[in-house]
């Protein structure tokens, strides 16, 4: 028995081990060096890393994370010396305020010129010194046209009792509070406890109408027509609409959150040149296009956007007009005390359900 176990296991190991070969070209200056990249799960085209290594000779050790916070916990522990991180807006701002990031040397990242100017100098990195945007998107309402016959243009519709049990909210403190804040007309980064309490109260009011607080299951639920309305990211909405033509997406008139995930270099980096080469490579128009098409979110890269299918480029869900963007806010870090306060309220909300 032991022999068979060993044989089969070694067979499996060999088979999977075979997939790890990678070419290197010794004529590249940074060839042979290594960089550690930490990114969202499933957030890069499948061949990008391979192509990068082929072109520069730099080996990439790639790790995925499933949330900004988990990334932060691991990063802060000093357990791994990451060279490139790709977190979201508010997390970048937090890292900047804690002096964790290295200013980028844009001479080494000439491709950064392709980034659309509306993505430069955003609130989380006002001097545009530490980050290069990677993907962005808006938060909006995905709805089923068969179940929702009226116009969807306001967050209020998620509080409409005729859709009781048909509403899906996000299982995320910031996102759900953002919806409540926007509905009440406040900033989604408010540190005013009275406003937070008000948002909390309105969410409690909504509680009985909500079918579920979920993350990625929202897609299957909407495609499967389990619900009428859902709060969702634009990229996911587009995917859902492709799968079920009864679905439509709208960004409410009160404005919403727009998120930006960007590439940064933490101070633990042991290969800054390699990291910058990576960021530069990711902004090569063809590579950026490839990544965008794979991921399905919106790209801040002007060239890549120009190369997209006309249908995608002109899709208002993916690339909303300027007046909608003007009403959108990026998340910024709230500081420890406020974060704890938001979180406490979130726990209270959950405790109040059923």
């Amino acid at each position: 028995m032991k022999k068979i176990v060993l044989l089969l296991t070694s067979l499996m190991l060999v088979l999977t081990g075979c997939a790890k070969n990678v070419e290197t070209d010794p004529n590249k200056p940074l060839a042979g060096t290594t960089i550690y990249v930490y990114n969202w799960g499933d957030y890069i085209a499948e061949d990008t890393i391979e192509r990068f290594t082929k072109e520069t000779g730099i080996k990439v050790v790639y790790e995925p994370f499933d949330s900004n916070e988990a990334m932060y916990a691991k990063y802060k522990s000093g357990a791994v010396n990451y060279d490139v991180l790709i977190p979201s807006d508010y997390m970048i701002q937090k890292l900047i305020s804690e002096n964790e990031l290295l200013p980028l040397n844009f001479d080494n990242i000439p491709n950064a010129k392709y980034i659309d100017s509306s993505f430069k100098n955003l609130q989380y990195d006002p001097e545009n010194a530490y980050s290069v945007p990677y993907m962005w998107g808006t938060l909006g309402i995905l709805y089923n046209k068969e179940k929702v016959k009226e116009e969807v243009d306001s967050w209020d519709i998620l509080w409409d009792s005729k859709y009781k049990g048909q509403i899906i909210m996000m299982d995320s403190v910031r996102d759900s509070f953002a919806v409540a804040f926007k509905r009440l007309g406040y900033s989604l980064n408010t540190t005013d406890k009275a406003q937070v309490d008000e948002a909390f109260a309105t969410l409690v009011e909504q509680g009985p109408l909500v079918q579920a607080y979920v993350m990625d299951q929202v897609k299957d639920k909407m495609i499967g027509e389990e619900a009428a309305l859902a709060v969702i990211y634009a990229g996911d909405a587009i995917y859902c609409m492709e799968q079920n033509e009864n679905l439509a997406y709208a960004v409410p008139k009160e404005g919403t959150n727009f998120f930006v995930d960007a590439m940064v270099i933490p101070k633990t980096s042991k290969n800054k040149a390699g990291a910058e080469a990576f960021i530069n490579f990711m902004n090569d128009p063809e590579i950026a296009l490839n990544n965008t098409e794979y991921i399905g979110y919106s790209t801040p890269h002007a060239e890549a956007k120009a190369m997209l299918d006309e249908e995608v480029r002109n899709n208002p869900s993916a690339y909303p007009s300027k007046d909608i963007i003007d009403k959108c806010e990026v998340f910024i870090d709230l500081g420890q005390e406020m974060t704890a306060y938001y979180n406490d309220k979130w726990n209270e909300l959950k405790a109040s359900l059923r």
């Binding site: 979180n343 959950k350 405790a351």
Partner: protein
């Protein structure tokens, strides 16, 4: 050579990798950093007694308890049947362990596909048979189902082991002395299998109390259990002191309940810690 020295490699391992990390948890639970440096404090501990956390703790224990009881009720007869029909080789047993080798998250997602109200497979079948559909996603029932599903094999295994080692001659003796099947079960089998039952309860109850994936998925995010709250402290609010304190409270409650349970049974052969 005294056999007890065989345990030495383990003891060394244990001290380094179990005791020391535990001390770190205690450190975080009882200290807080502020402008003046680190100080000793009970504030984390005190905070855990706030009602919203106690409610979550209570719910977690309740669901874990219900799931454990259901697991026990389902597992015991199962183990009895498996032992009875075991003919050399524990293939049947492995068949019940096998599902655990499919990723936990994937299996839980699969339950979603099965149980969804409109589109789920179960309801689709029920509808074709003109039977009433079930709508349990987002309710405690779904969470308990998920827990039972995931932890059932952990209950079956030790009970099976315990039943398998019961000396057949004891059973025959009981029979000879005039006991019928039911009496034998009650007075001989069950008491003798107690160590296995206790072990099963331990392996099911504890992870059930701290699980957070199942309430998130099957509870549609509406039920906040202590596992979710602890996870938040470590990953969202970075209040590791509080997270550590909550875990400590949890640990102590469990240790106490285990100790009480043990006191109710007399010293079994080889009284073994939690056994």
């Amino acid at each position: 050579m005294n056999r007890k020295w065989l345990a030495t490699p383990y003891l060394i391992w244990m001290v380094i990798f179990i005791v020391v990390p535990l001390l770190m948890i205690l450190y975080y639970a009882f200290t807080a950093k502020d402008v003046n440096g680190t100080r000793l404090t009970f504030e984390h501990l005190m905070k855990s007694f706030d009602s919203k956390y106690m409610v979550a703790l209570g719910k977690s224990f309740l669901y874990a308890f219900i799931s454990t009881v259901i697991c026990l009720i389902l597992a015991y007869p199962l183990a009895l049947i498996l032992v009875k029909y075991n003919k050399g080789g524990s293939a049947m047993l492995f068949i019940f362990i096998l599902p655990m080798w499919m990723n936990f998250l994937l299996r839980t997602y699969a339950w979603l596909s099965l149980l969804e109200t409109n589109n789920g497979l179960v309801n689709t079948i029920l509808r074709t048979l003109h039977l009433p559909t079930i709508d349990i996603i987002g309710t405690p029932k779904a969470i308990i189902l998920g827990m039972v599903y995931n932890f059932l094999p952990f209950m079956v295994l030790p009970i099976y082991n315990a039943l398998a080692k019961i000396d057949k001659s004891i059973m025959e003796a009981a029979y000879d002395l005039g006991a019928n099947d039911f009496q034998r079960l009650l007075k001989v089998t069950i008491p003798l299998s107690m160590p296995g039952v206790m072990s099963g309860i331990t392996m099911v109850f504890m992870p059930a109390v701290t699980t957070f994936v199942i309430p998130n998925l099957l509870g549609s995010g509406k039920v906040n259990l202590i596992g979710n709250i602890i996870e938040q402290q470590f990953l969202v609010t970075y209040d590791w002191g509080f997270g550590a304190a909550l875990s400590l409270v949890l640990m102590i409650i469990i240790l106490i309940s285990m100790a009480i349970m043990r006191r109710n049974e007399e010293d079994m052969e080889g009284g073994a810690g939690l056994w």
